[in-house]
């Protein structure tokens, strides 16, 4: 019984059931497959997490985002009054999270690759690109650089999915892909 001391004082010498050992081998192999899948996907998969990040003070990041917006703003979104920025393909693109918006709105070209820089100016935020469903954690003081290649055209939203205070659920951003 599991609530009594083992029936043999040296329980290590008790025999193991056949199905136990079979199951342990099967389970171990599956665990190793799961483990190997991750390096495999780093080599052969196209969707990987970025390893490029920097410690960037919020004001420095804000200045870089402002400079990009100043250079490449094509129009202003009428209702929200947020600039729509169309950076050149292959360039460094900045998007900042703050209470409670993702700024600015981006317009990207389909199947072109961009270096998207993300950071927060205040609290932690969650970058959740919908409906393609890419989710990243954004921390103040840390700048992540994600190399992305939008392969669908249309209008995409960035939902904040890290709780950031009472206006959290109003925090949205936009990316247009043309």
């Amino acid at each position: 019984m599991s609530i009594l001391p083992p029936s043999q004082k040296i329980w290590w010498k008790e025999p193991i059931h056949g199905i136990e050992i079979t199951w342990i081998i099967i389970a171990l192999i599956w665990c190793l497959v799961l483990f190997a899948w991750m390096p495999y996907w780093h080599i052969y998969g196209k969707q990987n997490l970025s390893n490029e990040s920097y410690k960037t003070p919020p004001e420095v990041f804000e200045a870089k985002a402002n400079a990009m917006a100043k250079a490449h703003t094509v129009r202003t979104e009428p209702k929200s009054n947020i600039p729509v920025v169309k950076p050149p393909a292959g360039s460094d693109v900045y998007m900042l999270g703050r209470l409670w918006q993702w700024w600015p709105i981006l317009e990207l070209e389909k199947n072109k690759t961009y270096r998207l820089h993300l950071s927060s100016l205040d609290w932690q935020h969650g970058f959740s690109l919908q409906p393609t469903n890419i989710n990243l954690q954004i921390l103040p003081g840390y700048e992540t650089v994600v190399t992305i290649t939008p392969d669908q055209s249309g209008e995409f939203a960035i939902v904040c999915n890290e709780y950031c205070g009472v206006g959290h659920h109003t925090m949205l951003g936009k990316i247009f892909v043309k």
Binding site: P5, P6, Q8, Q47, Q130, N135, Q137, Y142, T170
Partner: protein, 574 residues
């Protein structure tokens, strides 16, 4: 002086002071289950898009309390009761320093009360995770620290009790497997609490203005060594309870001690790395580090859970087959006591923990797959299967055993008892599955309004996702009914249940000792080795369990590759 009583129904020995501590901790646990449960229902009804009952501010407040009251207070209070049970009762030993045990209990009460006060004052709706730099009031962090110190005292008393039992020779051979599982939980708890101290003490000083910056990534890395490891305490504790219930109901002996104990040891060795899989989508941590650590060093802790998943039902199957339920693959399971909530609660806990909680946990803990899951409502879908069904239902099941044995009260409402595990487990199953589905469609967790009605920009989730959130709310409602039944049965039995001992008074239900005359044993007989099984292990095989395990593996493999396929459909990135 005689300090022990023997329960005539179970044969277990209870020491006067350990018994009082067990009762006090268990009752406080249920109080927090009730508070957390009521707020959980409000959260579920708010996230039903058609009802949306709370306003934003109240919703985030309710969600913060729900998470903290359940994940920390209910579970750790109850776990302390389990530790006293596994050391003092199972080893027939007096508890080490019961007076200090009450100080620990008091610290836990004060700490948890301070946290609740901070919440209800309204300036600390920072969620269970309290990520910096979003600030809570200093008493919030102080309360958590005091609570943790109290729990740490309980852990050391458990270890001290093991030492006394060894020294006073209260048992023969090695400690029972259940006590070994509790020991695993204790070791992980000490690591967990130490991590908590490392991060919460500086955070308290930061909230008081003595430190001007806490790095958010450092906070997340160390905080999750508290936040996730504390869930591993639960896993060890509820697996120990599964073995205990298998022994209590079926007289089941572990298939082999070596395998089950090694599996517990794997938890100790590898689960501490679990904090890593919470920061998979974070900047500043390399993929190499993530791949190694998130997989708990090549999934060796997952292996441990897969082993327990076989050996717990396996030992039940063998015990049942020896009783003659030997036809076909599954007669042993059909003829199990499904109307006994101690068994049904335990078995539902095991199945849902493994099939839903286990599989989804590993899938979302895979480095790249986490991209499509991080911070979506998939995550609560996962942990309602692991903690709400796995841990909480296992604790509920053992409570049905403890009310007559420890509190000496008969359970009231036998019919409600019979149905409660199904209603609670069923509701949670619906909730979990639908949240997993909605999360796969990108719905965020911790979000008041996925229709974004007062936002400057607009976005619409797929109609299916909205429907799923609605049905999930109904599952939450059903689970809340099951949870309420449990609280009413537990408290009702303690107050109004038929007394099984003349000493079982109202006060003794809440931590006071029974009448002095109950404690008539000076020293219980030495706990002897389990009898050697006559038939030999080769005679009876757990074939049915093996088939179940293969079904589990097939589901696991299919679900993993479905998600890998889904990952391959998102925008290329790196």
């Amino acid at each position: 002086m005689a300090m022990f009583r023997q329960c005539p129904d179970s044969g277990l020995f209870f020491h006067k002071s350990a018994e009082s501590l067990m009762k006090a901790h268990a009752v406080l646990g249920v109080v927090y289950l009730l508070i957390g449960g009521v707020l959980g229902l409000l959260v579920a009804l708010t996230r039903m898009p058609s009802l949306h009952v709370l306003n934003a501010e109240d919703f985030y407040l309710a969600l913060s309390i729900h998470g903290t009251a359940i994940l920390i207070f209910w579970i750790i209070f109850f776990e302390m009761a389990v530790l006293y049970f596994a050391a003092s009762t199972l080893l027939r030993c007096r508890p080490a320093t019961p007076g200090i045990g009450w100080i620990g209990f008091l610290l836990m009460v004060i700490g948890s009360t301070l946290v609740m006060v901070a919440f209800f004052r309204g300036n600390s709706s920072v969620m269970f995770t309290s990520y910096v730099p979003m600030p809570a009031e200093p008493i919030f962090y102080l309360g958590l620290i005091l609570f943790a110190v109290g729990a740490l005292i309980g852990c050391f008393i458990f270890l001290g009790t093991l030492v006394i039992a060894k020294k006073e020779n209260t048992y023969d051979g090695s400690i029972p497997l259940v006590t070994f599982g509790a020991l695993t939980a204790t070791v992980i708890a000490i690591f967990t609490i130490a991590s908590g101290a490392v991060i919460l003490i500086p955070t308290l000083l930061w909230s008081l203005g003595f430190i001007n910056h806490i790095d958010p990534l450092m906070y997340r890395t160390i905080w999750w060594a508290l936040g996730h490891s504390s869930q591993q305490i639960n896993v060890s504790a509820h697996v120990a309870i599964w073995y205990a219930i298998a022994a209590i109901i079926f007289g089941a002996k572990p298939m082999s001690e070596k395998v089950s104990r090694t599996a517990f040891l794997l938890y100790i060795l590898f689960l501490q790395l679990a904090s890593a899989h919470h920061i998979l989508a974070d900047p500043g941590v390399s993929s190499t580090w993530k791949v190694f650590n998130t997989s708990y060093a090549m999934y060796l802790a997952v292996l441990a859970s897969m082993i327990h998943g076989l050996t717990v039902p396996g030992c039940i199957e063998i015990a049942q087959r020896k009783k003659g339920f030997n036809n076909g693959l599954f007669e042993w399971l059909q003829k199990a006591p499904w109307a006994n909530p101690v068994f049904s609660g335990m078995f539902i806990s095991l199945i849902i923990f493994g099939f839903i909680g286990g599989i989804t946990g590993v899938v979302m803990g895979t480095e790249q797959i986490n991209l499509i899951i991080h911070n979506t409502i998939f995550v609560p879908g996962h942990f309602h299967a692991t903690v709400a069904v796995g841990t909480t239902l296992a604790f509920m099941a053992i409570t049905y055993f403890l009310i007559p044995v420890l509190f000496r009260r008969q359970l009231i409402w036998p019919n409600a008892c019979k149905w409660q595990p199904y209603i609670f487990g069923g509701g949670m199953l619906i909730l979990s599955l639908l949240l997993l589905g909605a999360g796969t469609l990108g719905v965020p967790r911790r979000h008041w309004d996925i229709n974004f009605s007062d936002a400057a920009l607009q976005f619409q989730y797929a109609g299916t996702a909205i429907t799923m959130m609605g049905i999930a709310g109904l599952g939450g409602l059903m689970a809340a009914v099951g949870g309420a039944m449990f609280c009413l049965i537990a408290v009702g039995s303690l107050v109004f249940g038929k007394r099984l001992d003349p000493g079982a008074s109202l006060f003794s239900s809440f931590g006071f000792p029974m009448a002095a005359s109950c404690y008539n044993i000076e020293r219980p007989g030495k706990l002897e080795l389990a009898p050697i099984e006559q038939t030999g292990d080769s005679g009876v095989q757990a074939k049915g369990t093996f088939v179940l395990a293969l079904v589990f593996l097939a589901s696991f493999v299919v679900y993993f590759f479905i998600n890998a396929k889904y990952l391959s459909s998102i925008w290329p990135m790196g």
